[in-house]
Symmetry: C2
Subunit: 343 residues, 2 copies
């Protein structure tokens, strides 16, 4: 019986447990540890783990694979505590949203006899906690893999297999690159979403505003419901990346402001039209497929390629937007736009 | 047989048609007009309307109620064209996202014999067009009502009844107030969402970024898929409101930047914790209920009130966050935080 130990039984740790149990591995025992004993009890009752272990050291003893799924800032302490208990060929991974600092801790704190392979599942939802865990949380989602310089090939294979087993898409990447990229696609959306919420929530007109707000406001502010400890720890451990993208976002908003302020309608419209088209393309394309395409399947024209990627509806929409742009250009100054200078 | 005419058969006009037909009104004929004859044909085939009429003037003739559901900037032209054709007691309403300018056009262009009652359903989705119309699009959503100064009581009742019939929540409001409020809860989210998308999409690393992006990026950028004509027209007709909130958003992002830059962890954490809690409360509370509560049902303590509004789970979460805040304060400078000054 080989042991897999999950440390930290929140949404991610809990979902990993459920996903591993759903895979019905034979000869594998899933052991859970959470510093909160009530959470550990919940995890046991919800059959997220086969058993929970009240001692962190005992939980990892003899484990083949240890998954650290605690808040980021707790990982260092966990590594210190377990370092002396790990069996020689143990594979250790984590699920933290930032990677450079975790790789550093692992290299300082874990013994040379174990292999560390950093991990980051690009999955989550607005309701945290083990009780909201889902076996399918990772299905189809990217899952970053960042092997330590001295990790064994076998260890990387173990982690990759686990990721494929739970239906996620392995994505090999370096730690610094990871942190820069997630700052753009994950941490900046978190800050924008939260700032939008805190700004509008702080308005004296909030009772009216909240009555009027609909699905758009709700969707764009969804990440404001992110676990505060996670948001805070992300900002702290990926500060440079977040600051970089935050500054760029403010610049981008400045560009919109200028177009609006100066009444540059044509550019404003083209900007929105391009955004609409490109996002529809992005959403319609779905997760990138990396498999090679046989030569005879390659489309022969741009239009065929677009049809392949995004479907006929979108091809029609591209043409519509083209036509609308032409119409708008034809009308030009002739018709003008009413209400532009309305106070 | 009374006639209701819907002008503009996109997502909103189409969904209104479906919702009205779902209500199985007797003695009512729903007539549709769209300047695009293919769209009008689709609407007929999808049974969004009882019949479509290729002439705008003929479509509104003898109508008891005319609903203008075209793009905002097209409303003025529609009003000019139909003004001479409307029967004496006709009620005219619209569905535009900005109201002050529409109310102005109505007062200038529509004859005194008809009543204009502005409308704005706070509903939408990322896929437009009549083929994506839904009878339930408006269910439970706020629907703003802005009667013109000279609209008859009867006309206001007609529009209110229709709104209740399709399951929306009537929300009476003045035009200027409406435009200021929707700038915050609808137009600012639109700009932030679009700017986030265009910024990240414009990065040379987009191929990698789009592979890594997950549900958070997708949700927060959802409004970038808004119909470009709608986004543009909103910016144009509610420019002051949008600029006001855009400036405030940049200030708010500046506040986050400062907390990050200066490493003010405690404040940063409190800020995220408050956002998490307040958004969870907002989401859990659901649409505001305006019915009075009987005295004996009034809760006697803050905790009971919270339980009533947001359920026990959230009350527990409030306590958790309180505890976490205390723990963080207790640790204070003692433990400190690793990695703070990592480049």
């Amino acid at each position: 019986m080989e042991r897999i130990t999950i440390i930290g039984l929140g949404l991610i740790g809990g979902s990993l447990g459920l996903a591993l149990k759903a895979a019905k591995l034979t000869g594998i025992e899933i052991v859970g540890y959470d510093k909160d004993t009530a959470t550990a009890g919940d995890a046991r009752r919800l059959r997220v783990v086969d058993k929970s272990e009240p001692s962190l050291q005992r939980a990892v003893r003899d484990a083949r694979l240890v998954i650290i799924a605690t808040p980021i800032m707790a990982i260092r302490g966990v590594m210190e505590e377990i370092a002396g208990e790990l069996r020689e060929d143990c594979v250790v991974t984590d699920t933290a949203s930032t990677k450079a600092i975790v790789m550093e801790w692992a290299s300082q704190l874990l013994p040379a006899t174990v292999s560390f392979v950093g991990g980051h599942p690009m999955a989550g939802k607005e309701t945290g906690g083990v009780q909201n865990g889902e076996a399918k949380l990772f299905a189809g989602k990217p899952y970053c893999i960042i092997p330590a310089a001295d990790a064994s090939e076998g260890a990387v294979r173990v982690v990759t297999s686990i990721i494929q087993l739970i239906g996620a898409r392995p994505f090999f990447i370096g730690a610094d690159e990871h942190d820069r990229y997630v700052a753009a696609v994950s941490h900046l959306p978190l800050i924008l979403s939260t700032a939008l919420f805190t700004l509008v929530r702080g308005s004296p007109a909030w009772p009216e505003l909240s009555s009027l707000a609909s699905s758009g406001f709700r969707d764009v502010t969804r990440l404001a419901s992110t676990d505060a400890e996670l948001s805070h720890d992300i900002c702290l451990t990926n500060r440079e990346g977040v600051l970089h993208w935050l500054d760029r976002a403010v610049e981008e908003l400045g560009r919109y402001r200028e177009l609006l302020q100066e009444g540059r309608e044509e550019e404003l419209f083209k900007n929105f039209a391009r955004a609409e088209l490109e996002r529809d393309t992005y959403v319609a394309a779905g997760p990138p497929v990396r498999e090679p395409v046989a030569a005879e399947e390659l489309p022969t024209s741009g239009e065929q390629l677009a049809a392949l990627l995004v479907g006929q509806r979108l091809v029609r929409r591209v043409k519509d937007i083209g036509k609308l742009l032409e119409e708008r250009q034809d009308r030009g100054g002739r018709q003008g736009v009413e209400g532009r200078d309305r106070p």
